[in-house]
Amino acid sequence: MSEVAVKEKEPLFSKKNKKLITDPLNDTNPVTIQVLGICSALAVTVKMDAALVMSMAVLAVLIAGNVIVSLMRNLIPGKIRIIVQLVVVAALVIIVDQVLKAFVYDVSKQLSVFVGLIITNCIIMGRLEAFALANKPWASALDGLGNGIGYGIILVVVAFFKELFGSGTLLGYEIFGNATDMTGLYAMGYENNGMMLLPPSSLVLVAIYIWIQKSRNPSLQEGH
């Protein structure tokens, strides 16, 4: 984590601030480079819609958590700072959970325990501890946005392939035809890949993503 503390009085979208958003999308991606938050990336990527909602939830918690902790950074006693961060994150997650339950009930049922598990998503605590505690609210918000999107991209990319090849659909729309009625591709003998519906396939997909990412940018490769 190589963030430099942001200096005072600079434009809202200075180069440094822009980097806060763009870096986590690629070179410091929380999932593929820092390998954080892998657990939920494996579990909620069977369907695109669940992945999207999960990404939004993490994004919301991350931005709000970053801003709140950043606002309180001069007040938080060092001895209990982890607990304070935890309380902030836990409260935000409960709010997200309640809102989902009220407005997108079906998705909230589908995500079930994983919404609660956002609390344990290492990306969130990681960003609070590494960035928000030392930076101003605006920079922290951008950092949250960048990391949240970086996390979301991986989730959506993985979910795209898993849903397409596992169920033959995208966002619920049948792409390859209907598997039970044997129409479209299925009439020609195509079959859905059952493994794509199971968590291990995400590992393979994330690994392929990391492979492509690191071969495009050799500076990310670790020395031998």
Partner: protein, 278 residues
């Protein structure tokens, strides 16, 4: 700043204030969203009841529509006691709107609460005939029955409630107009393991129950057993979920225990009358 941030007093005050503020905010949000959430849960219950009928027509009703469509299909609802007697004043037709506060409304019976409070302590302590004796004594347990009409055919929907591996499992069983053949079933759960026990809520599991009978030729009550795939047992049985043994056992237990009550009801005059009265 003049205040010493690292002092114990400051730390304690900070922690106390934070907890009070966070607690207040959460309490406010929870109580303001509660009506919408409860509406969702109620509509889902209606949707599951309609789905359990097993008819193509009611299967596809969405949760949003279920609230309005419920009274169209569920023509009568009543509450039984363990012996299969209709509790006085609980027989309501679809002209009476659902009143979730009324103790006489079958829809308002909170099975989860009753299960935890009255049934579970008994099932933990007793088995077999002892359990039946104890359940008979317990008058706080209600057994709702929903009488539905689809395409001029009568169906009975029975709610069941039990426990899986982690928390509650429940479902709705639809019976044909003969009161013994299962026409549809839906199951749901609170927090069973995804991919294992949680599979009971999928159609491939619940559809196995369709066309099984809960009464054999001699008229004896024969509960549908949920068994490990491949074990040779006599009909009626369905395959349980591999890797979800505890959940499968829970489904088996709750169906066995609950359907017995409704079987008793259909043996009684009132029940028989209902069956002939199509």
């Amino acid at each position: 700043m003049a205040i010493n941030k690292e002092s114990n007093v400051y730390t304690v005050i900070f922690a106390t204030l934070m907890v009070v503020v966070v607690g207040g905010v959460l309490a406010f949000i929870s109580s303001s969203l509660k009506p919408i959430q409860e509406d969702n849960v109620r509509n889902e219950k209606k949707q599951l009841i309609l789905k359990a009928i097993g008819s193509e027509e009611t299967k596809s009703i969405s949760r949003e529509d279920a609230g309005a469509e419920f009274n169209k299909y569920v023509v009568e609802r009543l509450i039984l006691d363990y012996e299969g007697n209709i509790l006085e004043g609980t027989r309501l037709t679809n002209e009476t709107p659902v009143d979730i506060k009324s103790a006489k409304d079958a829809f308002a019976v909170d099975l989860q609460k009753e299960y935890k409070k009255f049934v579970q302590p008994l099932t933990n302590k007793y088995t077999g005939t002892d359990l039946v004796d104890e359940l008979t004594k317990e008058t706080n347990i209600h057994y709702p029955l929903f009488i539905c009409q689809v395409n001029n055919k009568k169906h009975y929907v029975i709610p069941v409630m039990g426990k899986g591996l982690w928390a509650g499992v429940w479902g709705y069983i639809g019976l044909e107009s003969d009161g013994r053949t299962i026409s549809g079933a839906v199951f749901d759960h609170k927090s069973e393991t995804p991919g294992l026990g949680a599979e009971i809520s999928k159609d491939f599991f619940s559809d196995q129950f369709i066309e099984k009978t809960i009464v054999d030729q001699t008229g004896k009550y024969t509960p549908v057993k949920v068994v490990k795939p491949g074990t040779g047992v006599t009909e009626p049985y369905v395959d349980g979920i591999s890797g979800g043994t505890f959940t499968s056992v829970g489904v088996d237990e709750m169906m066995n225990r609950t359907l017995a009550v409704y079987h008793k009801f259909f043996q009684k005059e009132e029940g028989k009358q209902l069956l002939t009265n199509i």
